[in-house]
Symmetry: C2
Subunit: 232 residues, 2 copies
């Protein structure tokens, strides 16, 4: 009973993997709006309706791709961080930034799915929340480690954050325990700045303007790291 059931389950799991693989390939060429269940089915030699046995709707297929995307990006970021000396906080920050950018450049449509305009009518289910913070968790560890090592010295150029932000800071602090509010808000600024850079480059805002994008990126995220208080 168990053997036969797992046999079926195994075929099912393989088909699901094949579907998501093909869907990811289609996503990479046509983008999220152009992702078509029928086209995926055609490529699998299936009839379109058969896909619904595996994904009850197009949105569920999208959800699977989103979760895979967050995990892939998170893994890339984790790998980049792990390759650095634990005490080289500036190096870890730069490595994480580069990992984000390089993953985004290699998978532009997946990045757009994660950090670009939301797909209209699609509401991300709860399953996407955990993988979504994998990269941010790495970032939080870097900030925490640097802070604990006493190497996080924010330059005194920002006003203190308004008191009302304390409760939001408390939530973010779950990713960087013990870090003071001022650093938390700077950390948010640096993180959003990183994704602002990547999005600008990827979404075409640098067209006809910036040619040395890697160099500009490195330089700017370095500045953001300094703003955050990372050592030189």
């Amino acid at each position: 009973m168990n053997a036969s059931r797992t046999a079926r389950e195994r075929v099912r799991a393989e088909l699901i993997k094949e579907i998501t693989d093909i869907a990811r390939r289609h996503l990479a060429t046509a983008g999220a709006p152009g992702l078509s269940l029928r086209a995926v089915a055609r490529e699998m030699g299936m009839v379109s309706s058969a896909i619904y046995r595996y994904f009850p709707s197009r949105d569920d297929l999208l959800t699977a791709l989103i979760i895979d995307g967050y995990n892939a990006l998170g893994e890339a970021v984790e790998r980049a961080d792990a390759a650095c000396a634990a005490g080289d906080f500036t190096g870890r920050w730069l490595a994480v930034c580069r990992a984000v950018r390089e993953w985004a450049l290699a998978h532009p449509h997946e990045y757009a799915l994660l950090y670009g305009s939301p797909v209209p009518g699609y509401a991300a289910p709860q399953d996407t929340v955990a993988p979504a913070v994998r990269d941010t968790a790495v970032y939080g560890r870097i900030v925490t480690d640097a802070h604990r090592a006493g190497r996080l010295v924010p330059p005194p150029i920002c006003p203190p954050p308004p008191a009302v932000l304390a409760e939001d800071a408390e939530v973010v602090r779950s990713l960087m325990p013990g870090v003071p509010d001022d650093v938390v808000t700077r950390a948010i600024a640096a993180w959003t700045g990183l994704f602002g850079m990547v999005s600008f480059e990827l979404f075409g805002q640098f067209n006809n303007t910036i040619t040395h994008r890697a160099e500009l990126f490195d330089h700017n995220v370095t500045c953001l790291g300094r703003l955050l208080g990372l050592p030189e």
Copy 2:
């Protein structure tokens, strides 16, 4: 001859305006992928094919909406800047940032069209370039004015930009003449940081995390302004 021709032309212009208005309304509810020529035609009491008399393709309609969007945002930014005292550079920067954010919050799908994931298969024609830099031009004037007034004092926390960025800086400098490379790169960082903040908020990255978004936004763009060297 002229009068009659303009009569026809006038009707045509009015119809074009009506089409784009309806399209913009549809865009505001269904987003770019959901923008449907047929739905627009239906609402106008026309048959779908009639729209093609005015816009040869869906892409041309999108282009019109993009140009209108850039102009609307640019105008909002210009108005916000003009409402400030010319010598209050920090106030002008904050006003511009707020104008961008508020326009984006009021027109999320239009913002997504301009600064979100590019529409797959759509290539922005040259007509969109000029309106696209209207907001950036205002920003450039603020930086230039502050620099000329000697009020732009970048804190010495960033390394000097690598020499290879000089040629890109030269291009950007057309918007902020006379400003040194170091400030140009910081200006880019602040500008991308601004849009990173807006995009994160609008595209859902702050969900379940940040509740006092206006306050965080104000605080963070203020930090970015300080990084740029704007006075307190």
